[in-house]
Symmetry: C2
Subunit: 225 residues, 2 copies
């Protein structure tokens, strides 16, 4: 099958000197012995390095532990598959007939592996600088959105985990009242944690926000003990 | 404490532009908030990339799975600590008093982490090419010794694992006879695997070699079933 790689070059913001390398990066083992697996091995390590160096630069105050968590969220299969889908990588995949029938071109693991292989292919084609440029180009939006803050769990989740860890009963959230006019409503929710005594109230412009505020207050009380 | 870094520069075959980076790479968190942890995060990914690219080049016929196993054996803590000891890295470590007393300068995990941090420091000091040069320089002997062959388990180990996996009784090795003159002895060993019926014989110039040959034959029989 003849595939037109020009569009993919534009999506990668990179034109291959040796298009054979890119073709190999797009070939699943179900199609040919000349497939992407070794390139994926290489590309995976280039991705880790590139993202590590970028996070190190961007977040001079973050601890190693937080950097590691940020990196994991960026190099994981789901994130890679998301990027692969954005650039339509599935359209270029060369799969064996079995994989084709079972929808392999949209399977997360295949998309993620092939994208890593593409990074490895760019590296072999033109060196580490080009590989890093392609990776940072594809990750530009995601890198923007991922901040240490985005790793933090919301108060309700934190409270639930706090109580589960101590084998305590889970909190109950009850609507206490809704104040204000139709379009400027203020929700007041009570969070009841058995063993804490008094219910704790949270307010917010939505029920969810009110619950989060209540959970946050309960966490403060528990942590202050 | 003033430490002389010149000797370490020679061991690394690299002289730092900014010796402060190297000092940070050698400082444990028990000593200072300005410690090696973030550099280790960076260095770890640089090591992984460097070894991956080197193995990819050196072993054009190896599968991704075997490359991954080779890489693991090279970047694991034990290997890093071995290199760190060879270059006397422990002498340069800056540890807090508690770690000092408990012998932290010779602890495998601290040596391994600090060495990774040194790789990160070289990268920040002079870029990826220098970091790769230092890594490949320190790994030169180990890379030479690690071959796909060195990953293979010996037949006795393989046989033991085969039987354990199937919850079967382990093999018993018995000396059957020793042939030949004193310095040209040939050992004949029987391997008895309950359930296989007949004992299987192996020969070799040592007891160990005879046992390995017998185990190898038993594996063949079991795999042929």
């Amino acid at each position: 099958m003849k595939i037109d790689l020009q569009k993919l070059y534009r999506c990668l913001d990179y034109t291959f000197n040796d298009s054979g390398l890119l073709r190999r990066a797009l070939t699943h083992r179900s199609k040919s012995a000349e497939n992407y697996e070794r390139l994926e091995f290489l590309g995976d390590s280039i991705l880790e390095f590139t993202i590590s160096a970028e996070l190190y630069d961007r977040h001079p105050d973050l601890s190693e532990g937080k950097l590691t968590r940020l990196r994991s969220s960026l190099v994981k299969k789901e994130t890679l598959a998301e990027i692969a889908r954005q650039i339509g990588l599935g359209d270029y995949l060369q799969l064996g007939s079995g994989e084709l029938k079972s929808g392999g071109f949209d399977r997360e693991s295949i998309l993620a592996d092939a994208l890593e292989a593409v990074f490895g292919a760019v590296y072999l084609d033109d060196g580490i600088d080009s590989a890093q440029r392609v990776i940072l180009y594809l990750y530009r939006d995601i890198l923007q959105g991922v901040t240490p803050k985005s790793l933090e769990k919301d108060p309700k989740t934190q409270l639930q985990e706090y109580l589960q860890k101590r084998s305590q009963l889970l909190p109950v959230y009850q609507m206490h009242e809704v104040e204000g006019a139709q379009h400027k409503q203020l929700f007041v929710v009570e969070c009841i944690v058995p063993g804490l005594g008094m219910p704790v109230r949270g307010k917010g412009s939505s029920r969810r926000k009110a619950e989060q505020q209540a959970a946050s207050k309960v966490l403060e009380l528990l942590n202050a003990r």
